[in-house]
Symmetry: C3
Subunit: 254 residues, 3 copies
């Protein structure tokens, strides 16, 4: 095992917490703060300087894991427990909360805001100025766009509200808001705001139902949504307890 | 030319066959068996350990070629003649037969089964628990999903039968079976099983015809399917002879 | 700052212009000509030999910037001012003009022709034998295909005419021509030629309007197309002046 691998280049004034591990052939630039116990894999470039930054450091929270071949620019901030797949790309001036998971090959462009416990699977693309709230899921090859009349300077980021799920290969058009606990079906092209709890599908996407009427596909006979009633893998105990308490209080009934 | 490049790291107990070449800056972990004459390019990480593995080695067959920036986890098995593009990612507990081609940027998640002579072009995504039979083609940006009610633990892998072709940007929904020699058109979203020999297209996909009525677009005036009647590039002589023998026996007539 | 990083491998007979910078761990093969002041980031492999090449050098024009983890094959030519994102892949026998921008994760297969000032955003895929004229824009996850009956040897590259814009997740089917200043909407699947100035959308794509009737989404009250009337970022002064002169001459009226 390595701590700071001898083939890596770590700038002398990069700030590394205790127990940080830096993998083979990885480059850590100077304007970087890495929290305790964070592990960074091989072939990563961390804290790439850019004239588009606001001059602040790249900060990566403690207990994070950045897998191989990933690239992070300066002037972004990630809470504790960041996890990435391989070859993630994150540009400048983005802020994310705790427990953010970024899948293999996913890319986050500049000036995005990401809440707590957001999870991306592989190859998700998030255009600049997107705002993603807490506990959102985004599945493979989903694309969040931002230019209504390309090419232009009139960028309109999407907004994805708490607990929403965006399925594989969906496109969210510029400025669209996906509502609380809404579900965007696979391969949908979403041109209008999605109401809370609703399912949208198709090109262009239309409301096809209510998430609360979708049943799980196992033998349980239970509803699939809110997904927080049955899917808990990897969330902290206090979060799961919060979800269970709200379920008991009929928070999900309408 | 190099054999084991001096900048690479090869674990002392990794098992390398005769004539294996390891490129610059590549990392080969200990739980790895690489067949004779296999070449691995630069910046690859081979045999990444994971707690999700079953503890077995990563085995890569002889006469394989893994191009640069690729990542393979432990506990997967590939027959002889594996070829990858750049930046392929293959997770644990997957088994593939002979002559598998994985395109640039393609990703195979855990616990998949892949037959013989399967070919992926670039940026194909295969969700966990997928089963792909022999001689299947998957074109760029096709996505094989596995979660019917994301996020959940109820994963249902797709099944792709012998000789089927899945075109660019198609999405196959969880648990769907694409039949023998079927053709999924570009940009289709496939929510139901696809019958043998049929063509499906659209969002959602519907049967639009029979592959055996599609003509080639060259001057030959011949049918395009079964593709094995005219497309032989890169297949071994005994396979081509098998195809020619079945054609003579009217195996394709119905 | 580095010039030729000591961890890089540059073949002795590669031809590097004055002021060229080569990043850490990067490999430059022998059949390569790199113009003055060009910068190549870390973990790149430049000039990969291939039996599919015509034997000519890879030539990269002056004042170019190739970002980290990119791979270029031999026998392709790029004019001055090439810029790439991270992990670009460019195959053999392709020719591109001045000011070409290739986004992160984009891939250009062999034998393509690209005009001047073409811009790709992230994760664009261009199949072999495609022809792209000047000032074209291609947005994230767009795929230009080339095989009408996959798999076959009857490749038909797409043609994208001057100033056309192809939006996110669009698929252009083999041999389709997208006309002068046309706009392909996000998530469209384009199976027929697109007339000049028209907008197409849907799966399959149909003409839904005229680009010249689309208004900008800012407070200006001005038309969004031709985009050259208002979007000038990064283009040279003489190009912008040319656009302004044609606008004054009512070149865009029909």
């Amino acid at each position: 095992m390595f701590s700071i691998h001898p083939t890596s280049f770590v700038a002398p004034n990069a700030k590394l917490g205790t127990g940080v591990e830096i993998g083979p052939f990885t480059i850590v630039h100077s304007n970087v703060v890495i929290g305790a116990r964070t592990k960074i894999g091989a072939y990563c470039e961390i804290g790439v300087p850019t004239p588009l930054s606001n001059g602040s450091s790249l900060e990566i929270g403690e207990d994070s894991l950045i897998r191989s071949h990933s690239v992070f620019y300066e002037s972004s901030y990630f809470g504790s427990g960041l996890t990435t797949g391989h070859r993630a790309t994150v540009r400048e001036n983005t802020t994310a909360g705790k427990g953010f998971q970024i899948g293999t090959l996913s890319e986050i462009q500049g000036s995005c805001q990401v809440g707590d416990y957001v999870r991306f699977q592989s190859n998700v693309f998030v255009g600049g100025k997107t705002r993603i709230e807490d506990f959102v899921w985004i599945l493979p090859y989903a694309v969040l766009t931002n230019d209504p009349t390309p090419p232009s300077n009139d960028l309109m980021g999407c907004v994805i509200k708490d607990y929403a799920v965006i399925s594989a290969m969906a496109v969210i058009l510029p400025g669209v808001e996906v509502g609380l606990r809404a579900l965007v079906a696979a391969h949908a092209c979403v041109s209008k705001d999605v109401p809370e709890h609703m399912v949208v599908a198709g090109v262009p996407a239309r409301v096809i139902g209510d998430t609360r009427k979708i049943m799980k596909r196992d033998a349980s006979g239970k509803p699939a949504y809110p997904w927080t009633t049955h899917f808990h893998r990897g969330y902290p105990t206090e979060i799961i307890e919060m979800w269970q308490a709200s379920a008991n209080c009929s928070d999900y009934e309408t």
